[in-house]
């Protein structure tokens, strides 16, 4: 890895820091225009997130001959990925939130949009609404589809209601009235009442967070956003002030579910954008590395952390996005109303706890020991046997060199913890430990199958790319189970998402609704509006320019549909305006073509309705380049040492242990063996072998 002196950074625009805080570990990756420089890992400190971040930064700074403070002072872009918002929802730790709706419509969140995945299944209860009925309240007032006020807002009733909410200890309020997108007056008025009657209580108005037609989606967006505000606003503000105090001068950009990053003020205002943002960075790395290493355009990206296992896909060279983002299962979970990277997430990772259930069956996860107390072997008071403890007992981890030697693992504690499970099972400690890994692998295989085989994708046709601190422990048996012949583990595999952060851009969208039709097109109105969008786009670009970002791409689109349709297609506006009939004709033709190519039919003489006009600005951040090394013909160096290990196929064996730093492109290691990287350990099971690729990553033939 190249290291340059910190002084040269400023002239090149400074460092780029990518952070990924998971439930257990905080990953840090530092890069600049010459490449990725350094990686660090620290335990996540939930009570004050910046502590773990600064510790990880310190780790990453050391090889660069500097410290966290100096690094931060020379950082241009700081990208923050976090599972905090998602986990808060999954763990039911969001604010106690009330929902105010139009009188007569209390069940919007209960009924969602209907639908059920398996109509033959009568074994599951109907899911609870995001906000319970007991905290959903009706307010008199009605706007029509045309935006007219049919029934005036009952302000005194609303005021009395807000007093009741105070007494019910409500911590956040969401407001969604019918047709607030056509006329927001009632929502705005209630917003003012909330500020007056419940000062300090955060609230979200549906027309502001997600101005779309369809009351369920808008109400759900508002409810999720409001419920996250107390927690996420405090979290983000505290982190920002801590990092600024530690010296950060550059841009602080949280990753958002759309797959890019956003300015921190925007996210503080709309924390819903951070929901499901966690898995959005990993496929970006899959896309970049997959293409560079093998030219693969279809990649399965697995990220095994301490708490969770996330799988996402790259298909045809792009991360797979879902237009509808469900928290939980489709139909029965909650729609965020926004699109996001399509990823499956299960509670399985290095910290997953093993236990024996009442029927005598070995279970692993979804409960995790997290970072605190963590697995028994961390020696922080944890007593539960975890996947990490099992791996240590099996000799798959180097107790002296965990996390680059910054943590010593307590072998005795791991043995004791696994021993307790073994006693319950009546098996040997080794067989129990191996069993814990098998069960954990099984869950992960099922998650991969769900996003591939269940969607009709044969995993064997894709490149399998694995990362996350615990990935190397069992990726070989997982790949074997999927009948994949090889797995790519990036050198920085331990910090997959933080690495992905090195390759993201700033993406912001400006949108204005204005309905017009092809037969009586409103040229003046549309061009006025497009000029307005151009001004917003220009101002945004200017604000980025002052922050040192110089390369932009602005694309204009219109969302259009045939008359009577209710779902739109996005059509590009290459000129950014529609000057006359000629340009209109070309947009109309582009719509017919898009409809034909996506839906197999078009209707040449049908009127087209134009609904929403959008300008999307991409501020291109400087990316660390990927340059191949020339492969050496040198044989692998002698191992760093030997250790005892246990595999089910071989029983106890003595295996070599290699330090990753000593391995260069072209070298090959035969299993059984361990390759120890500072942030991850790759277990080469008997029969597998690893080769260091030209880009200095590991390709494991399983």
């Amino acid at each position: 890895m190249t290291t340059a002196s910190p002084r040269t950074r400023e002239s090149r625009g400074g460092y780029r820091i990518g952070i990924d805080t998971g439930g257990t570990f905080t990953d840090v990756v530092v890069g600049d225009s010459s490449g990725i420089l350094s990686v660090g890992k620290a335990l996540t400190t939930r009570e004050r997130i910046s502590r773990g971040i600064l510790e990880g930064l310190g780790v990453a700074a050391a090889p660069l001959g500097t410290d966290a403070g100096a690094l931060l002072r020379q950082t241009a872009v700081f990208i923050y990925g976090s599972t905090r918002a998602t986990n808060a929802i999954l763990e039911g730790k969001t604010a106690r939130t009330a929902l105010l709706v139009t009188h007569g419509f209390p069940d919007i969140l209960v009924r969602r949009e209907g639908g059920k995945t398996n109509p033959w299944d009568y074994t599951a209860d109907y899911p609870e609404p995001y906000v319970p009925r007991q905290l959903t309240f009706e307010v008199q007032g009605r706007i029509t589809a045309e935006g007219n006020e049919l029934v005036p807002l009952d302000e005194s009733g609303a005021t009395a209601l807000l007093h009741r909410l105070g007494a019910l200890h409500v911590e956040a309020v969401a407001v969604c009235f019918l047709w607030s997108i056509a006329n927001p007056d009632h929502e705005l008025a209630v917003g003012r009442l909330i500020e007056r009657e419940l000062p300090g209580i955060p609230y979200t108005l549906s027309h502001q967070v997600n101005p779309i037609v369809r009351e369920y989606r808008r109400a759900s967006s508002a409810a999720i956003d409001a419920s996250l505000k107390p927690l996420m606003q405090q979290h983000l503000r505290e982190m920002e002030s801590d990092l600024r105090a530690a010296g950060l001068a550059g841009e602080l950009l949280p990753a958002i579910s759309l797959g890019g990053v956003m300015h921190i003020d925007g996210v503080i205002d709309r924390p819903i954008h951070m929901v499901r943002s966690g898995p959005s960075l990993a496929p970006i790395l899959g896309q970049v590395i997959g293409a560079a290493e093998t030219g693969a355009t279809d990649v399965i990206v697995c990220d095994t952390g301490g708490t969770s296992f996330d799988v996402s896909l790259v298909r045809d060279g792009r991360p797979v996005f879902g237009r509808d983002t469900w928290l939980g299962a489709r139909y029965t979970g909650h729609l965020t109303g926004l699109s996001s990277v399509d990823a499956r997430s299960i509670g399985s990772g290095g910290g997953s706890i093993a236990r024996v259930d009442s029927g005598g069956l070995l279970c692993v996860g979804p409960e995790s020991a997290g970072a605190d107390p963590g697995p028994a072997c961390y020696g922080r008071g944890g007593t539960h046997a975890t996947v990490t403890d099992a791996a240590l007992l099996l000799g798959y981890l180097d107790a002296e060199y965990f996390n680059g030697g910054r943590m010593r693992l307590d072998t005795g504690a791991a043995d004791a913890a696994v021993g307790r499970v073994a006693a319950q099972l009546g098996k040997s400690a080794e067989d129990t430990a191996a069993g814990i890994l098998v069960v954990a692998s099984e869950h992960m295989v099922a998650a991969i199958k769900e996003i591939t085989i269940n969607e009709g994708v044969d995993p064997r046709d894709s490149l399998l790319l694995a990362g996350g601190g615990a990935a190397g422990l069992n990726i070989v048996p997982i790949a074997r189970e999927l009948a994949c012949t090889r797995v790519l583990l990036p050198r920085m595999a331990g910090a997959l998402s933080a690495c992905g952060a090195q390759y993201t851009d700033i993406v912001t969208e400006f949108a204005v609704s204005h309905v017009t039709a092809s037969s009586h097109f409103d040229y003046a109105g549309v061009n006025r509006l497009l000029s307005g969008l151009g001004i917003s786009v220009g101002a945004f670009e200017q604000s980025l320019r002052t922050r040192g970002i110089t390369r932009f791409r602005t694309d204009y689109f219109v969302e259009a549909r045939y008359r009577y349709q209710v779902w739109e297609l996005e059509v590009p506006l290459p000129d950014g305006r529609i000057a006359g009939p000629e340009q209109l004709r070309s947009v109309v033709e582009a719509f017919h073509r898009a409809h034909e190519s996506i839906f197999a039919v078009s209707e040449a003489d049908q009127e087209i309705e134009f609904i929403q006009w959008k300008g999307r600005v991409t501020g291109e951040l400087e990316r660390p380049p990927l340059t191949p090394f020339s492969a050496s013909t040198a044989a692998a160096p002698p191992p760093d040492g030997y250790g005892k290990a246990y595999f089910q196929s071989t029983g106890p064996v003595e295996i070599p242990r290699y330090r990753g730093a000593a391995l260069t492109p072209g070298m090959r290691i035969e299993g059984p063996a361990l390759i120890v990287e500072p942030t991850t350990t790759i277990v080469l099971y008997p029969g597998s072998a690893a080769t260091v690729t030209p880009f200095n990553n590991y390709m494991v033939n399983v």
């Binding site: 069940d107 009924r111 009568y122 109907y126 019918l178 009709g456 209710v566 996506i598 049908q606």
Partner: protein, 594 residues
């Protein structure tokens, strides 16, 4: 051909089975995103499927049970009438006497050719906004025969050749369907779905080869049959008889009895459903088509079988359904009207079948599900002055029928009704108000409407709506007004349906449960659909669940006490409700003795 072929890899079988499902889901997405009427682009009252060259249903992911289970009979008529089948063909089929469900469901069939061989047929069946019936409604409950019904009939006619529309057929539809532009757009949506299915299947065969695909089809259907056989073997043996009754109709003062006789034969791995002991066809629009009679019985059985067993023609081999000619629940005799074949009597049939299964013992079968197509499922029509007085017709799918209690869970809320079983989506209030000139005044779920039980029935919904500017007609069909869904194993019935007209002065007048009403601006229709039946004795319901039901407004304090025997202290308003364990035990003893 080599004779020594290795059996197909299990992973390939799993991948292909899921790939077919994902092709069907992509077809479904195409129709949903491109449809023009709300019943398609919002309520999703349509289904897509893949059928084998020899007319066996292969995949119907996300489809409505009633739509997809009879697909094979329709492709049979395509084969029979069109020996010159070729790539580029598409057929319009809505003939209930030739395998379709009812006239309002237009089915587009596209034969899929690869290398000159016909390997599959893809089908997209969609409930139309209008089908040219004599009333502006896709349901004609009172029509005495098909002539009075009046809908345009297409007995599997070619609507595309060489990928081009056959204009004669298009013109027929455009002339006689009340909303020609919407119809044509919906036709394109269904055609697009079928063409997407065709493209994807061709790519799949190119990738795996016709031999592998052929072998897969064979293996998959056999595998599905084995799974079903295994599931039936786990059931107790028994002869089960259940009866239901459709509400009264003009000329049918006793309503329409529905009788189901089931033989469960675990030793043979067979379930037999005999529907022959039912009355002859009736001179109203509720006779079942043969497809609906078959599908209705199948749905009832499948609802009681391990949901993991694949639902296709392979597993259906283990279910025998016995029908007779000229029977209201069987094979209709022309010209009997089957306009409402997908819903009314079919829903009674499904309910009787799944309730019969509960007679195998607690742990089997289901209670009855609600099936009212009242105001919340009315067909609205009129003219829209916002669009130059353009005509509109569309069935609303916004009401709420409660699902049946099962041995292990409460009734589904957005159940729709037995024939669609929650596969249909729910209309958005805003989309409906945007597309049609009406105002919805309220839409809420009703307290105490789900049948009481250890597992409670799902709740009914209330809805009130009316025209904004000009008169509007609503055709509605609130079955289950007289005979609400039954519970089982001690579970209570769900609430009954009802319909009211709300006059300008606010007065509410009960109107016949099945009918057609014209509303002036300022007038509203108000309707209640039905609640689902409960499963098991309400006195055995977990007290904490009853407390939660009261907190959430599903069950009143009075019902909690009088029916569930649960006494609660504290108040709902400040979330302080708690179960009073001692008082509850006493109350439950008291109720048990009564």
């Amino acid at each position: 051909m080599s004779t020594q072929r290795k059996p197909l890899d299990q992973v390939v079988i799993a991948v292909l089975a899921n790939r077919l499902d994902s092709i069907v889901r992509e077809m479904t997405n195409t129709l949903f995103r491109t449809g023009r009427s709300a019943i398609l682009n919002t309520a999703k009252d349509f289904s897509c499927s893949i059928i084998t060259a020899d007319n066996q249903l292969l995949s119907s992911a996300d489809g409505l049970p009633i739509h997809v289970l009879g697909g094979g009979r329709q492709t049979q008529s395509m084969q029979e009438f069109h020996p010159d089948l070729a790539a580029g063909d598409a057929f319009l089929h809505n003939d209930p006497y030739l395998g379709n469900t009812h006239t309002a469901d237009h089915t587009i069939l596209v034969p899929v050719f690869v290398g000159g061989l016909r390997l599959f047929t893809v089908a997209a069946k969609a409930h139309q906004a209008d089908c040219g019936n004599s009333d502006p409604s896709t349901y004609m409950p009172f029509a005495k025969d098909v002539y009075q019904e009046g809908g345009l009939n297409f007995p599997c006619v070619r609507i595309q050749r060489d990928y081009q529309d056959v204009q004669d057929i298009i013109r027929m539809c455009r002339r006689r369907i009340r909303v020609p532009e919407v119809w044509y757009g919906d036709y394109l949506a269904a055609l697009g779905a079928a063409r997407i299915g065709e493209r994807r299947l061709k790519a799949l065969v190119d990738r795996y080869g016709a031999d592998t695909i052929g072998e897969f089809v064979h293996e998959w259907l056999d595998y599905s049959e084995r799974r079903m056989k295994h599931a039936i073997r786990a059931l107790p043996a028994g002869r089960l008889i259940a009866e239901g009754r459709h509400d009264t109709l003009p000329g049918l003062p006793d309503g329409i009895p529905v009788k189901v006789i089931i033989e469960v034969k675990p030793a043979e791995g067979i379930v037999e459903v005999d529907l022959r002991e039912n009355i002859d066809c009736v001179p109203v629009g509720v006779n079942l088509s043969q497809t609906c009679a078959t599908a209705g019985a199948l749905i009832g059985v499948l609802n009681c079988i391990d949901p993991g067993v694949p639902r296709n023609e392979g597993s259906f081999r283990r279910i025998r359904i016995l029908l007779r000619e000229n029977c209201v629940v069987g094979i209709p005799r022309f010209p009997a009207c089957t306009s409402m074949a997908t819903s009314n009597v079919t829903n009674r049939l499904i309910n009787a079948t799944q309730r019969a299964f509960s007679m195998l013992g607690d742990g089997h079968g289901l209670a009855e599900g609600a099936a009212s197509m009242g105001a919340g499922f009315g067909v609205v029509s009129g003219n829209d002055r916002r669009h130059g007085g353009a005509p509109f017709v569309n069935q609303l799918v916004i009401g709420n029928n409660g699902g049946p209690g099962s041995p292990v869970c409460d009734g589904w809320v957005t159940y729709c009704m037995p024939d669609a079983a929650a596969s249909v989506m729910v209309d958005s209030v805003e989309i409906i108000e945007q597309k049609y000139p009406l105002l919805i005044r309220s839409l809420r779920l009703v307290e105490d409407s789900g049948g009481a039980g250890r597992q409670r029935g799902g709740p009914a919904g209330e809805i009130t709506y009316g025209p904004l500017h000009d008169p509007m007609t609503v055709a509605y069909f609130a079955e289950m007004h007289e005979d609400p869904p039954k519970g089982t194993h001690g579970g209570g019935p769900g609430s009954a349906s009802a319909v009211y007209k709300v006059h300008r002065d606010g007065r509410e007048e009960p109107i016949p449960p099945i009918g057609l009403v014209e509303l002036q601006p300022g007038e509203f229709i108000r309707g209640f659909e039905a609640g689902g039946g409960g499963y098991g004795d309400p006195l055995t319901r977990d007290p904490e669940r009853v407390r939660h039901d009261v907190m959430e407004g599903w069950v009143s304090l009075a019902q909690a006490k009088d029916v569930y025997g649960i006494l609660l202290s504290g108040a709902r308003a400040d979330a302080s409700l708690r179960v009073d364990a001692a008082a509850t035990a006493a109350q439950r003893r008291l109720l048990a003795q009564a």
